[in-house]
């Protein structure tokens, strides 16, 4: 899923070609149906007990869809936040600090979600 341009030598000023742009779009397209599904779930579980949520999320398809939503949404978030940092932070040190902060936060949030989903599935 790479553009021909990315394969050429010398990937422009960013040294990464259109990779970031393209991933942002691919995750965005994936998130269109996943967000709608998430909304259906959030409304459907609103006002119910934890047993309803547990039974629903323990179902394999629902667990897989929720894991996909979490991972892709966090990937999309990391790409988006990187652009925000690129635009507003101008010193190299702070830039690296915030890049690392975003990446660590995203991985921490993602692994927490996946662990919770596994724990739900095991119950």
């Amino acid at each position: 899923m790479n553009t021909p341009l990315q394969r050429v030598q010398g990937l422009g000023a960013s040294h990464s070609g259109t990779g970031h742009f393209w991933r942002q779009r691919v995750t965005a397209v994936a998130l269109v149906p996943l967000s709608l599904w998430f909304l259906y779930v959030a409304i459907g579980l609103a006002g119910t007990t934890e047993v309803s949520a547990l039974v629903f999320l323990a179902h394999p398809w629902n667990a897989i869809l929720m894991a996909a939503f979490v991972v892709i949404a966090l990937y999309h978030a990391a790409l988006g936040l990187q652009v925000v940092i690129d635009d507003y932070i101008h010193t190299a040190g702070s830039k690296i600090f915030f890049f690392l902060l975003v990446r660590f936060a995203v991985i921490a949030t993602g692994s927490t979600c996946i662990f919770a989903l596994l724990r739900i599935a095991a119950q």
Binding site: R25, A28, V29, L31, V32, S35, L39, V41, I43, G44, L45, A46, G47, T48, T49, E50, S52, A53, L54, F56, L57, M66, V70, A73, L74, A77, G80, L81, V84, H90, T91, A92, T109, T112, C113, F115, A116, L117, R119, I120, Q123
Partner: protein, 140 residues
């Protein structure tokens, strides 16, 4: 990396008129709001993680989550996340349409901005109204 335009010493150079001098067109509003809602949704992912963990922690965990979320402030935050998702979703589709080459004219982007603002508010209010009038919870 390019030279930092904000280093001392570089301050005497003339700068082009910045944000504060322009009358804000609606397209500028939706552009910055797309970014702001994206940041808000990134933080919303932490709430989602907390919700999933609370479910996995059994009745007490779930109650501790609801003890915070069911307060007026909690509901306000939840509504803010809901509207952010509605806005970022609608405006994101607009972005994807642009990527395909549609809706670039001045008038189309103005109308698209207004449409996205209206639609996102309607969507967020509809979602909350749906739950408040007892139409949610169908996955019981």
């Amino acid at each position: 990396m390019a030279d930092n335009p904000q280093v001392p010493g570089a301050q005497q150079r003339p700068l082009s008129p910045h944000l504060t001098i322009y009358r804000w067109p609606v397209t500028m509003m939706t552009s910055i709001t797309h970014r702001a809602t994206g940041i808000a949704l990134s933080m919303g992912m932490v709430v989602l993680a907390w919700w999933l963990v609370s479910i996995s922690n059994g009745p007490e965990g779930f109650e501790s989550f609801h003890a915070v979320v069911d307060t007026p402030l909690g509901l306000l935050v939840l509504f803010a996340i809901t509207w952010s998702l509605a806005f970022h979703f609608c405006n994101g589709i607009r972005h994807l349409a642009w990527d395909l080459g549609y809706g670039f004219s001045k008038e189309a982007s103005r109308q698209g901005s207004i449409l996205v603002i209206a639609l996102s508010v309607i969507l967020a209010v509809a979602i909350f109204a749906c739950v408040w009038t007892g139409h949610g919870g169908y996955l019981r």
